[in-house]
Amino acid sequence: MKSVAGPEGRLKRALAVVPVDIYAIVLLGAIFWAACDPGTFLTSGNFMNIMEQCTILAVISIASLLPIITKGVDLSLGSIMSFAGVVAAYLVRNQEWGMAPACLAAVAAGAGVGMINGFIISRNNVAPFIITLGTMNIAKSLAMVVSNSRTISANTPSFRWLGGETVGGVPYSVALMLAVYLVFDALMRKRRLGGYIYAIGGNETAARLSGIDVRLVKFLTYTFGGVLAAVAGVMLASRLGSANPGYGDGFEFYGIASAVVGGASMAGGTGSVWRMFAGSFIISALRNGLNMAGLPVSLQMIVLGLIIVGIVTLDTMGGRGEK
């Protein structure tokens, strides 16, 4: 991050002294929001509702977080979601595949796009957001080709298992999300690969000099992103009982939002899986609250845009971003 000396120096010092976690501020904000409208916001039915909305966002957020930790970003996630959803719905509806092979094919499709991202970004010193902007359009285009730019309706019980059914009282989607989180929490904290991902974000040159295969780790990061985005895309299509090349639009944005709200720095090297879960829960609660307050989707986007820019600003000024 390029540093600019200027009037923000005083604010920066003030922020550095006060031991406030941005993440705590946002949590307080959400609680404040809930307190303003306790009648509907804090009911258990609405809680489950937020939880279910949160599952898809929480999965896509991990896909956002991994590249962000390595100082990158993945803008293609929303399109990969659409692509994977469309592939699953197309195979089930038009080719009469079973749900399991269709899901596998969708995940493979997402992994494919992720691997293209990973391959190009890990082997060239190029800005990840440009490459993923390119693949965002490639994935979107593929989704339009598969679906012929229409909505594919696949409203059968077998297709909708992820959306409605429960296992021991817990919806399948929530169980799947928890499984994803347990796996990635273990990966990031207990496995060597997790340590390598943080190391690359902290100081890529040092990571390379200490013998880490930076190319491989970056490749895996974006591939995991593609796989998780595909899982999220199938979850979304399954919940809605249909798929459309536009369903995933904007999810890359919400993913970045929950990662930064969950304490990840765009400057790389920081961010944890569970704190980011809190981030996605806050974003979901916020969207839910804004919905209940009757704010149109357009205004919700404005609010979320301001929150992202605001938090990244606090982050860089507070000095956490200066690695």
């Binding site: 190029v126 390119g134 359009n137 080709v145 845009g305 820019v309």
Partner: protein, 312 residues
């Protein structure tokens, strides 16, 4: 062969190759009507991409141009239905003023908040689109006055007005970039940020200038666009971000800032439009156009990196 030579002529070579290929496979490609059609289609992208070139030269990017285009044109659209001169002026002032203002906001946020350009403009992309929907949800403005339709559908001495406007924009901003102090500053900030700062260039002013220009030109393109469509609504212009970035990238403007020119960008816009035109002539479904654009961006960036490495 030195790099500058390769740089300048690789694009022209690519353009010639594509033209020859299309002329050989589709005889109606080289018809006057189709060529004018290509220029007309490329003109809007050229206007937006010239602004994009400025932001990319200072090692930034503007992802919000499509949304700024939509917001400014729907806010101004109602003024063009009456045909009164004062309304017309008001419409232009609203659109161009708002576009410049949003660009200044982008630039100021990038400079003063130190948030990466792609995030700021990504936020602006969402916010401006949000405002466009907020104020004009479900409204379609059409039946514009004949005088306003001249902007998108008329012609000046046989040249379609959009092409004439694009040529003017190109000439003016090409000149600013090549011949003025501000143009030199734009290149210096992108080429070497620290040395530009230590040699006394105001990074803030240069950055805000580039993004303001990008907003202004997006708004201008929006006016030409709604005049051509004879309709304005909040949803328009979503593909302009990508097309403008692709034009600049294919035209050899580096994402690392400091190298490239608006003339390269125009070549890029022409190559892109001709590829789309060729896909249409060959009956390739429009769904594949995004794929071609996305692939072209990635390819252009990778070739740019290779060229850099070869030089070092």
């Amino acid at each position: 062969m030195n790099r500058a030579f390769l740089d300048r002529f690789s694009r022209i070579l690519a353009l010639v190759l594509i033209v020859v290929l299309l002329a050989a496979t589709k005889p109606n490609f080289l018809g006057v009507r189709n060529l004018l059609n290509i220029l007309n289609q490329a003109s809007l992208n050229v206007i937006v991409a010239v602004g994009m070139t400025f932001t990319m030269l200072i090692a930034g990017i503007d992802l919000s141009v499509g949304s700024i285009l939509a917001l400014t044109s729907v806010m101004a659209a109602r003024f063009f239905q009456t045909g009164g001169v004062s309304d017309m002026i008001a419409g232009f002032a609203v659109a161009l003023g708002l576009g410049t203002f949003l660009g200044v906001l982008n630039g100021a946020a990038i400079v003063h908040l130190r948030v990466p350009a792609f995030l700021v403009t990504f936020g602006m992309m969402q916010a401006a689109r949000g405002f466009a929907y907020l104020f004009n949800s479900g409204v379609i403005y059409n039946n514009f006055d004949g005088k306003f339709l001249f902007l998108g559908k008329g012609d000046v001495l046989g040249v379609p007005t959009p092409v004439a406007i694009a040529a003017l924009v190109l000439g003016l901003f090409g000149l600013i970039l090549a011949k003025t102090t501000m143009g030199r500053r734009v290149y210096m900030v992108g080429a070497n940020y620290s040395s530009a700062r230590y040699s006394g260039i105001s990074i803030g002013r240069t950055t805000i200038f580039a993004y303001a220009l990008s907003g202004l030109l997006a708004a201008l393109a929006g006016l030409v666009y709604i005049s051509r469509l004879n309709a304005a609504e909040a949803i328009i212009g979503e593909h302009f971000n990508l097309m403008a970035i692709a034009a600049a990238a294919i035209g050899g403007v580096s994402f690392n800032g400091g190298s490239g020119s608006v003339f390269g960008t125009v070549l890029g816009a022409l190559i892109l439009t001709i590829i789309m035109n060729g896909m249409n002539l060959h009956g390739i479904p429009t769904q594949y156009q995004n794929l071609a654009t996305g692939a072209a961006i990635i390819l252009a960036v990778l070739l740019d990196r290779r060229a850099m490495r070869a030089e070092v």
